[in-house]
Amino acid sequence: MSNTTPAPQKKPAASRRRFELDERLKSYKGVLVFIEHERDTVHPVSWELLGEGRKLADMLGVELAGVVMGAPGDTTRSFCQEAFRYGADLCYLVEDPILSDYRNEPYTRGLTELVNKFEPEILLLGATTLGRDLAGSVATTLATGLTADCTELNIDPENRSLAATRPTFGGSLLCTIQTLNYRPQMATVRPRVMQMPEPEDGRSGRIVEHPLAVVETDIITKVLEFIPDDKRDEAQLAYADIIVSGGRGLKRPENFQLIWDLAEVLGAEVGATRPVVQAGWLTTDRQVGQTGKTVRPKLYIAAGISGAIQHRVGMEASDVIVAINEDPNAPIFDFATYGIVGNAMQILPALTEAFRTHLATAKKAG
């Protein structure tokens, strides 16, 4: 019983349901992207969303806006400027000391007020821990539709509504979801699912300031401390350009050394499938897939990985996929770029050696 549990026995709902946008909601115009930042850095998913938002805004012939919320200062303003470079026409700026760290209550109130005042027809957020926390709260407060973890966003030409496609049932099916009778139409998108747009230097836009009508004493939740992650930071996997991943086919945790060796030569990150993580061979932040990270590297090497749909959805956007598997019928060969049928324990060291030699020779040649 959720928006993603399709009921196959029913007739397709959207086409039969009457599309009647309330008079009050007809004034809603424009695409709004929530610019997420923490510890003085914007989460790259926000720029990815601006790239996607730009396409939607152009299709609709409306403006693309960003919203930056945070403590007053130069940083928030510089984030607005950056948003312009990534395609925003304007940026709402909500500044207040209360917003210095993310807390659900003041952010929900601020974003809800902003939506009620400026009436965007589409509101996009990253499907991060912050974005999902905020999106769920804002959608409930606004009593509007929210579609999680979309992999594709489009405009339905028939009714100019947002058509948001997302995986369901752990990735075995896709469904397209629409919010026809409510505004804004909200969606979240995971990091790395959409392409990073090329920033355009010199591009600018207008900043629209909006106050936050909340006082600290109204806010019950307090941030006592922030413990940053250590070096083996999770975000590195999502934004890695080369990833070497291992699956259950490696048989024993010791064999993962072969993965680390290859990764070292390539300057790559190490990833894994769920069973490997569940067996405790690697930490959770290295899991690639539906319930792990979505990755988009230039090269993804998969050793001893079957290519189950839940893993596939997290890595199939990689530019080049090299699969090593002993089973010539493994599903991963159906979508990899290159396949090697063989024992990973023999192929991996050979690959490490081949890359090492290649690099050394090239270096010598200058």
Binding site: S2, N104, G145, L146, G170, T176, Q178
Partner: protein, 281 residues
């Protein structure tokens, strides 16, 4: 202290098959399980009960078969179990689901004041992570999502301190109760059911609440009517047309295969070679 734990019965999506022609889920024979993330929430609630005493009520919205999920919760040690089940709920999206569950929690609260509501971080069939925040907003409770650890709970001052996962680290948050907590996977390990609890679970007279018992006066806020989102289309992911180019040679050694791969790959994708050089500095 009274904790309500929201649990959902879901199809074991590892075993789901999609009908090749009609693109519908073939549910026959697919076992129904308790959403695995919710078990972490249940265990966390039971641990708090072990420490502070009180009551744990398991709450599930779903069809009548979902009673199995609640009996499972009982067998682990939940004190009470309530199934919210009504045809009026069919087709509920996350907004409507959170409305129905929040109404039921309000009813439960009348019987014994609810201090905390626990839920899993998301379900494995929907994956939305939206129902928890939705319930919290409707009940005007403090919301704590992606909680890795409950540091302390003070029933006197009615304060809770938790560690919450955020993108770049962990936030330590202090807030007031009542609060809704969604629990991250792996925070604990589910206990084993005990024999006496298993017997009790089997015989337990489950409470089944229809929309009236759950306190839902306005049925336009649940089910399809109360759901702003509409499933317009369901389809199978497009199969990538091209299969992998196999790197093979009769009786080739791993070294030969590796060399062949590099040659093929660097010719067709020079950017990959460039990327590797960039790193090697």
């Amino acid at each position: 202290m009274h904790i309500v734990v929201c649990i959902k019965q879901v199809p074991d999506s590892a075993q789901i098959r999609v009908h090749p022609v009609t693109n519908t889920i073939m549910r026959q024979g697919v076992p129904a399980i308790v959403n695995p993330y919710d078990l972490y929430a249940l265990e966390e609630a039971l641990r708090l009960k072990d420490r502070y005493g009180g009551r744990v009520t398991a709450l599930c919205m779903g069809p009548s078969q979902a009673d199995a999920a609640l009996r499972k919760a009982l067998s682990f040690g939940a004190d009470e179990a309530i199934l919210v089940s009504d045809r009026a709920f069919a087709g509920s999206d996350t907004l409507a689901t959170s409305f129905a569950l929040a109404s039921a929690i309000r009813q439960i609260d009348k019987d014994m004041h609810v201090d905390l509501v626990f839920a899993g971080k998301q379900t494995i069939d929907g994956d939305t992570a939206q129902v928890g925040p939705g319930i919290a907003k409707r009940l005007d409770m403090q919301l704590l999502t992606y909680v890795e650890k409950i540091e302390s709970l003070d029933l006197e001052t009615r304060e809770i301190v938790v560690q919450r996962r955020s993108e770049g680290g962990v936030q330590v948050l202090k807030t007031g109760i009542p609060a809704l907590v969604t629990v991250l996977e792996g925070v604990n390990e589910m206990r084993f059911a005990t024999m006496p609890d298993m017997f009790r679970a089997a015989r337990y007279p489950l409470k089944i609440w229809d929309k009236d018992a759950a306190g839902i006066e306005d049925i336009t806020r649940v089910g399809l009517k109360g759901s702003p989102t509409i499933v317009a289309k369901v389809f199978a992911p497009q199969a990538k047309s091209q299969k992998a180019e196999m790197v093979e040679n009769q009786n080739a050694s791993p070294t030969d295969l590796a060399a062949t791969l590099l040659a093929k790959m660097f010719t067709r994708f020079p950017q990959v070679e460039k990327e590797i050089f960039k790193r090697a500095g």
